[in-house]
């Protein structure tokens, strides 16, 4: 039975967008914690720490996000945990975000001139104090624009969670389309909502990038 595409469907899709946002937020926050750990490990003096972090980044940047999602989703079932699409998507996207943010922030940390670390070291500041007060605040300024850029990628990446049956924006669109068979209308609406979420962030990233460039050339 094919029914009409109604305002109830639009509401259904829009309320599913909430899950897209929640999933993005979890993955971004988790990825921020994971990414900071990865970035610090990558820039540390410990050889093994550096190696493990590099390996982690390579694995997660070198495999499709969809495979990571499948591995976590079906992997959870194998180890006897209940199959929970939100949990699986959150874990997979967090790992994915950790790898990418880790790499972005490693670059930002390394872009802070080595003289800064040397001066802080010569002032007898401990490693945590050097990082917290001297290196990371400067790295943050360098990393902000690419980080926001990655957040846009991450929001769009959550659409893959639809494949393991998590009802976020894209999955809601599929459900409505299956009932109404108005693909252009339905997926047009879905795409428009993604655009409304992502476009301001893209603008923000570009704005920050130009401001950053001006700060450097000053």
């Amino acid at each position: 039975m094919i029914r009409e595409f109604s305002s109830a469907d639009v509401l259904f899709i829009m309320s599913a967008a909430r899950w897209t946002l929640i999933l993005s937020a979890i993955a971004f926050l988790g990825g921020a914690i994971g990414g900071l750990s990865i970035a610090l490990a990558r820039t540390s003096h410990g050889k093994w720490l550096r190696r493990i972090a590099a390996w982690f980044i390579q694995v997660f940047q070198g495999t499709p996000l969809l495979m990571q999602l499948f591995l976590v989703y079906f992997g959870l079932a194998v180890v006897g945990l209940p199959i929970n699409p939100l949990l699986a998507a959150a874990v997979a996207l967090t790992l994915h975000a950790s790898a990418y943010l880790g790499e972005i922030w490693r670059g930002a940390i390394e872009a802070v001139p080595s003289g800064q670390t040397e001066a802080a070291t010569a002032l007898a500041l401990s490693y945590p104090d050097r990082m917290r007060h001297v290196v990371l605040p400067q790295a943050l300024r360098i990393a902000t624009a690419p980080t926001v850029g990655f957040l846009v990628q991450l929001i769009k990446g959550t659409s893959l969670a639809s494949i393991i049956g998590f009802t976020e924006l894209t999955r809601a669109g599929q459900i409505v389309n299956n009932a109404t068979f108005k693909p252009f209308l339905v997926f047009g609406t879905v795409a428009a909502i993604y655009f409304i979420l992502c476009w301001p962030l893209s603008l923000l990233a570009r704005h920050m990038e130009t401001r950053m460039r001006r700060a450097i050339t000053r």
Partner: protein, 244 residues
């Protein structure tokens, strides 16, 4: 309290296969002012950077103010609290005001309360003659002013030894004097100083001893009048001829 500020024995340092410091022996007395010169790549910067362990050494021993640097533990942290360093490129923290630059280390490392740290900072900013710049950011200052802030920042830790790594090499000529004057003041007050510099007038004016390094070795050293007027080593004669 030992009577020597720094004792280096048989110090060797390699960068890969490159022998950067070769069997360096150096004893510095308390209050002694030493100028180290030599061609680029001679190991002079490396030498002073081993004193606060910005560079590790491969063999030998370094004793700073009675603390054995190479003995491990928290000796390195202890020594760094008592050894201030000024860099060629200033290395002020650009995201902090001048005052914040000066109080960070005393508050974090020495656990000095903020009010006391700020008072100390203003005192030293006064001494380097820029008290009015306390709330500005480093980028708003001239090179000479930045380097004087860097000196004040190091002094805020109340170090017993100051290391200067080519402090005037990155400055425009008209700003060299204001930094040298600050260093001369410091020297007159009895600070133990090791300065890597090519400012030979500074060496003549304040140094107790001038050291010439070449290829990682201390080749010649002596009081400034002997060092400049009667150099023995051929390479030193050559070097003095070039910079005079």
């Amino acid at each position: 309290m030992t009577e020597h500020a720094i004792i280096m024995r048989d110090v060797n340092k390699f960068y890969g296969a490159y022998h950067a410091l070769v069997d360096v022996d150096l004893t510095v007395e308390r209050g002694e002012r030493i100028v180290i010169c030599g061609p680029s790549g001679s190991g002079k910067s490396t030498l002073i950077r081993t004193i606060n362990q910005l560079e590790t050494i491969h063999s030998g021993t370094i004793n700073v103010d009675g603390v054995e640097l190479t003995a491990g533990g928290d000796n390195v942290a202890k020594v760094r609290q008592d050894v201030g360093m000024v860099f060629q490129s200033f290395n002020l923290f650009p995201h902090m005001t001048v005052l914040e630059n000066c109080i960070l280390a005393p508050m974090k490392t020495r656990k000095t309360p903020r009010a006391e740290a700020e008072q100390t900072a203003r005192h030293y900013l006064e001494r380097v003659k820029i008290p009015e710049q306390a709330d500005k950011y480093p980028a708003q200052l001239s090179g000479g002013q930045q380097q004087r802030v860097a000196i004040a920042r190091a002094l805020c830790m109340k170090p017993r030894i100051m290391l200067f790594d080519e402090p005037t090499s990155a400055l425009d000529p008209e700003m060299v004097k204001e930094v040298l004057d600050t260093m001369i003041d410091l020297a007159r007050e009895g600070m133990t100083m090791l300065c890597v510099t090519h400012e030979m007038d500074f060496a003549r004016a304040v140094a107790d001893r001038v050291i010439f390094m070449d290829k990682g070795m201390i080749v010649e050293q002596g009081a400034p009048d002997v060092f400049f007027n009667n150099p023995q080593n051929e390479r030193l004669k050559n070097f003095l001829g070039q910079i005079a």
